[in-house]
């Protein structure tokens, strides 16, 4: 490689040539464009109602400080844009130095996420993001580590790592972009696709029973389990914030529309006409009601019953009051998945405090060091039976 070192001249302050079209056209100096679907006129993108932004805050940075100069390459209209924008709006509000924020992703459309963030990041391999996050967080517990993953990435190839991450309780946020499809590989069914799903790989319909991701996380003893949706940026931001505040593995499932291969997969829960009656937003300490307060959930023995609050028969006081710290309740509500008469729950479904993995790891290292003192290499090498040959 004759040109290997020659090409790195010492005063390189200009950008080395990249392939044509690799970068978006230059904007005015110092202005970083926030992410938005290409072609959208409003810089904030069409999906975010005004006022949900928070373009400034905790660390004195703004949203644009968190967007990289790389072209965002998701399909126009993809739900991933709203998620990216929400993260970029949230980060300035968090009290985290920018250099301490790291995004670790797996493979898939969702996996491209770190390239669009002007933070540290690593786009790893399919399904394994939790493993890299584990090593990184153990190496430096000060870092604020976010994992970005897809439904195939997290629950198919990476299912093993996900459950072990949850059980270990590494302090990290898992953003699972669930679009119930394999986006990047162009539309095969995923482990969250409904039974009977017709895709390129299942022309006669899928015969796999789907996972309910929050139930998987609860089953793996995640200490924080929540669900939100791309079409409700305000809720999404609140959930991301709550995930971030949680010390431990915060598992956040985000219903994300893939408008190319699975358009409308969650419209039942996200669109105006049906959202109220199909989506239930749980709040800790509040009765479980939905449909603008017209319906509620009560406990009938160990089963849930949807009740009509508009008649004299039931009132809000009959509704179950949500307790996000109650594991049994979380399992009951989190399991509402395929019963047509019950709504789909969103919000923080479960949260409990327990020691984090990296904290315990370092506590143990500190304890051993406190007990034995700093290791002395000379002594260690000479431990056990030794003998000396004199000169």
């Amino acid at each position: 490689m004759a040109d290997a070192s020659a090409s790195s001249n010492t005063n390189n302050t200009t950008k080395p040539a990249g392939p044509p079209g690799a970068k978006k056209p230059a904007g005015p100096p110092g202005s970083k464009k926030p992410a938005g679907p290409p072609g959208s006129k409003k810089p904030d993108g069409p999906t975010l109602p005004p006022g949900y932004g928070g373009d400034g805050g905790g660390c004195g940075l703004s949203r644009k400080d968190f967007s990289s100069d790389q072209d965002v390459r998701w399909c126009p209209g993809c739900g991933d844009y709203a998620i990216l924008a929400t993260v970029q709006r949230l980060l300035p509000e968090l009290d985290v130095p920018k250099e301490n924020t790291v995004f670790i992703s797996g493979i898939g459309c969702a996996g491209r996420f770190p390239y669009y963030m002007d933070t540290y990041g690593m786009h790893t391999i399919h399904g394994r993001a939790p493993t890299f996050a584990t090593g990184l967080k153990c190496a430096n517990p000060e870092l604020d580590v976010w994992i970005v993953t897809g439904d195939g990435d997290a629950l198919s190839i990476g299912g093993n790592h996900l459950i072990h991450l949850c059980r270990r309780n590494l302090d990290t946020q898992v953003l699972l972009f669930n679009n119930k499809i394999y986006g990047l590989t162009k539309g095969q069914y995923s482990p969250t696709s409904e039974e009977g799903k017709v895709t390129k790989s299942t022309p006669h319909g899928s015969i796999d029973a789907p996972f309910n991701p929050v139930a998987v996380a609860l089953g793996a003893d995640a200490s924080f389990v929540a669900r939100t949706m791309d079409r409700d940026p305000k809720h999404m931001k609140a959930m991301m914030k709550a995930s971030h505040e949680h010390a431990g593995t915060a598992f956040l499932e985000i219903y994300q529309n893939c408008n190319i291969f699975n358009d409308g997969a969650f419209f039942e829960f996200t669109e105006r006409g049906t959202k109220a009656s199909r989506a239930l937003f749980v709040e800790d300490g509040e009765p479980l009601t939905y449909a603008n307060g017209e319906r509620g959930l009560r406990l009938d023995g160990l089963s849930l019953e949807a009740i009509d609050l508009t008649t004299d028969r039931w009132s809000v006081s009959d509704c179950l009051v949500y307790d996000a710290s109650n594991r049994e309740m979380a399992h009951l509500i989190g399991r509402m998945f395929d019963q047509p008469d019950l709504p789909r729950p969103f919000g923080v479904l479960y949260q409990t405090e327990r020691p984090t993995y990296e904290q315990q790891l370092h506590d143990q290292l500190d304890a051993v060091r406190a007990e034995r003192g700093d290791g002395d290499l000379e002594t260690l090498l000479h431990s056990g039976e030794t003998w000396t040959i004199d000169a």
């Binding site: 490689m1 080395p16 786009h123 493993t131 890299f132 584990t134 000479h382 039976e385």
Partner: protein
């Protein structure tokens, strides 16, 4: 390997240069412990030594069966000891099964000490010897046999204690130890000290063991059956402080030393697998050094976490065996692409698939050099002895961080479980290990991006090593993204540009090639020119050296060179190979290094392959050397 030249019957003491002893018995007979104590005594006698345990594959095999036999082989001498021994001079068989399994390893005329109490019909039946009577038929013809009723004698020695029969019987290995220590004129004191220490809080057991040990030695002195007592003089070893060290232990110590000397923490991720688990066990004991251990959910998680830790500024290391390396393949490729330090320790075992989990083989060289998708080169190192595992583990960490690359360390179960007398290095003599993170923006490592903002360039390279900067999360102003998609030269941005891809593939290859700059000259045993060079790699060094030394003592003209830095091939190897008419390449596989050599050099390479899950015996290599030197009749 020398037998007493004159089998005279008087119990005079005869000086011999070296001897190989094999203790074999049931898993519950304490053979590993007996072997370890004999080793210690030999160390106190200032002998050079090498040992190899031979554990049964089953965890708790039924007592008395052949597959429950546990062995410990020890080769010690007044001369240089390279291997745990080709042929056994003394076999101590605690039961019939042990005799059945190991008799074939005893040299003709060698000594067999049998515990006659364990040859009852039931014992013979368990050893699949139902119809035989090995103590009285011709099975032991041609061997010197010492029959000792070990169990009976131990019971007699302890007849006045309160110990249970089981406890009494358990100390019969001390009888055997005392007896064999006497036979080879070894001191009893190291074993005594050990017993006192080990059972300090159980005085009854302590005293019982001490008594039996002594009885064993006295018995040996008294009975007539032991015709000759041997003396093995101190070896002329380099001055220094020595200890016995196993390869797995030495590997762990090398990693600890790397953390200590670099001032950087080592993160060791692993999923248990034979024969690599002992590294995890050992390194876990030293957490007051800067080492963190992580028992992962699988090998993929282990390597992922190690690479993630390297991203965070630690030295990420993961240890496993071949099947685990197979699982790690994709993540190692990510390490190549992201150009982060990573050390993968492969304690090789017989393959393919689950293969021979407890048996050594050098079958994973091709996997190490080529076994990834895409053009994904990485340096491969291979320790040559148990103690060398220390240096090569340390070296692997140095190369990984100096060149920002994954490094594969190829040891095997023979090194991992085997031990040798290891001269403990002075910490100050270890190669210096400084590696800095990039912490500041500079003219060289920054550019202005399209938006007019300063942007760190994670793929600018060092002129000498071609390493890219190691900037870790938490460093202000150096934010960047790594990943498995092809990187644009210098910016590290995702790039699908055809020329860029070719350039990056070549740059990564050139970087690995430059690791040759860090390699010491290939050491040569014998003249640097001649008709035959024996060229091996990794764990076969002991057998090759012994074979070549034997040939030299017979004036057979042959030289040997050994690769510990296997890939890239060292820069001085070509000239060395050119100096010989032919090159014999012994390998414990079906011919892997030889393919790399044939691909690189224009010389005549002759394979010597052994694929039996067993190390080479020096004699096998001697024969191959003689054959290679014999002109072929045409």
């Amino acid at each position: 390997m020398t037998s007493p030249s004159d089998p005279a019957a008087d119990a005079s003491t005869r000086s011999i240069p070296d001897a190989t002893v094999l203790f074999a018995g049931d898993s519950g007979d304490g053979m590993q412990l007996t072997g370890a104590q004999f080793t210690l005594a030999s160390a106190y006698a200032r002998n050079d030594l090498a040992t190899l345990p031979d554990y049964p594959a089953e965890i708790r095999a039924p007592a008395g069966t052949t597959y429950g036999v546990s062995g410990f082989q020890l080769h010690f001498g007044a001369v240089d000891i390279h291997t745990p021994g080709d042929k056994v001079d003394l076999l101590v068989a605690m039961n019939a099964a042990a005799l059945k399994v190991h008799l074939s390893r005893v040299r003709p005329g060698g000594t067999v000490l049998v515990n006659t109490d364990a040859f009852a019909p039931r014992d013979l039946e368990l050893a699949d010897w139902s119809d035989a009577d090995p103590l009285h038929d011709d099975t032991l013809d041609g061997y010197e046999v010492i029959e000792v009723p070990l169990t009976t004698l131990t019971r007699e020695a302890l007849s006045d204690t309160d110990l249970s029969k089981k406890q009494v019987d358990r100390s019969k290995n001390m009888f055997a130890l005392g007896l064999t220590l006497w036979m080879y004129s070894r001191p009893l004191d190291p074993a005594r000290d050990w017993i006192r220490n080990k059972f300090s809080d159980r005085p009854v057991i302590r005293d019982a063991n001490l008594a039996v040990l002594k009885k064993g030695a006295h018995y040996a002195e008294t009975i007539e059956a032991i015709g000759t007592r041997y003396q093995v003089d101190p070896a002329a070893m380099k001055p220094g402080t020595y200890r016995a060290v196993r390869g797995a232990e030495a590997t762990a110590l090398g990693l600890v030393a790397a953390a200590h000397q670099s001032g950087r923490s080592v993160f060791y991720g692993s999923y248990p697998i034979t024969p690599a688990s002992d590294i995890l066990h050992e390194i876990s004991k030293h957490k007051n050094f800067d080492v963190a251990t992580f028992q992962a959910e699988d090998e993929i998680a282990a390597v992922g976490a190690a690479l993630g830790a390297s991203f965070g500024g630690s030295i990420g290391v993961c240890g496993t065996s071949g099947p685990g390396v197979a699982l790690k393949t994709e993540a190692i490729g990510l390490g190549v692409m992201t150009e982060l330090p990573l050390v993968i320790v492969n304690m090789q075992r017989g393959g393919p698939s689950t293969g021979l989990p407890t048996k050594p083989e050098q079958g994973d060289l091709m996997q190490a050099v080529y076994g990834r998708n895409g053009e994904a080169p990485l340096p491969v190192l291979a320790p040559a002895s148990p103690g060398d595992c220390f240096y090569m583990a340390y070296e692997a960490c140095r190369i990984a961080t100096t060149y920002m690359t994954p490094v594969m360390l190829l040891a095997d179960g023979y090194l991992g479980n085997g031990s040798e007398a290891w001269r403990i290095p002075a910490v100050d003599d270890l190669p210096s290990f400084t590696v800095e993170n990039t912490t500041e923006p500079t003219d060289r490592n920054m550019m202005t991006d399209d938006d007019g903002n300063p942007q760190f360039l994670p793929y600018v390279r060092d002129d000498d090593t071609l390493a890219r900067p190691w900037a870790v999360p938490g460093t202000p102003e150096l934010e960047h993204r790594l990943g498995g998609l092809e990187k644009e030269h210098e910016t590290g941005n995702v790039s699908y540009d055809p020329e860029n891809h070719e350039r990056m593939v070549k740059l990564r290859a050139e970087k690995v090639q430059r690791v040759t700059q860090s390699m010491p000259p290939v050491p040569v045993r014998g003249p640097r020119q001649g008709s035959l060079l024996v060229l091996g790699w990794g764990s076969t060094k002991g057998a090759i050296d012994e074979a070549v030394d034997r040939c030299h003592s017979e004036d057979t003209p042959v030289s040997a060179a050994h690769l510990r830095y296997v890939w890239p091939l060292p820069a001085d190897l070509e000239a060395l190979v050119d100096g010989f008419d032919r090159v014999l390449v012994p390998e414990l596989n079906n011919g892997q290094l030889i393919r790399l050599l044939r691909n690189a050099y224009d010389a005549e390479f002759l394979p010597l392959n052994k694929i039996q899950g067993r190390p080479f015996r020096a004699a096998e290599i001697c024969t191959a050397i003689r054959d290679a030197l014999t002109p072929v009749a045409s």
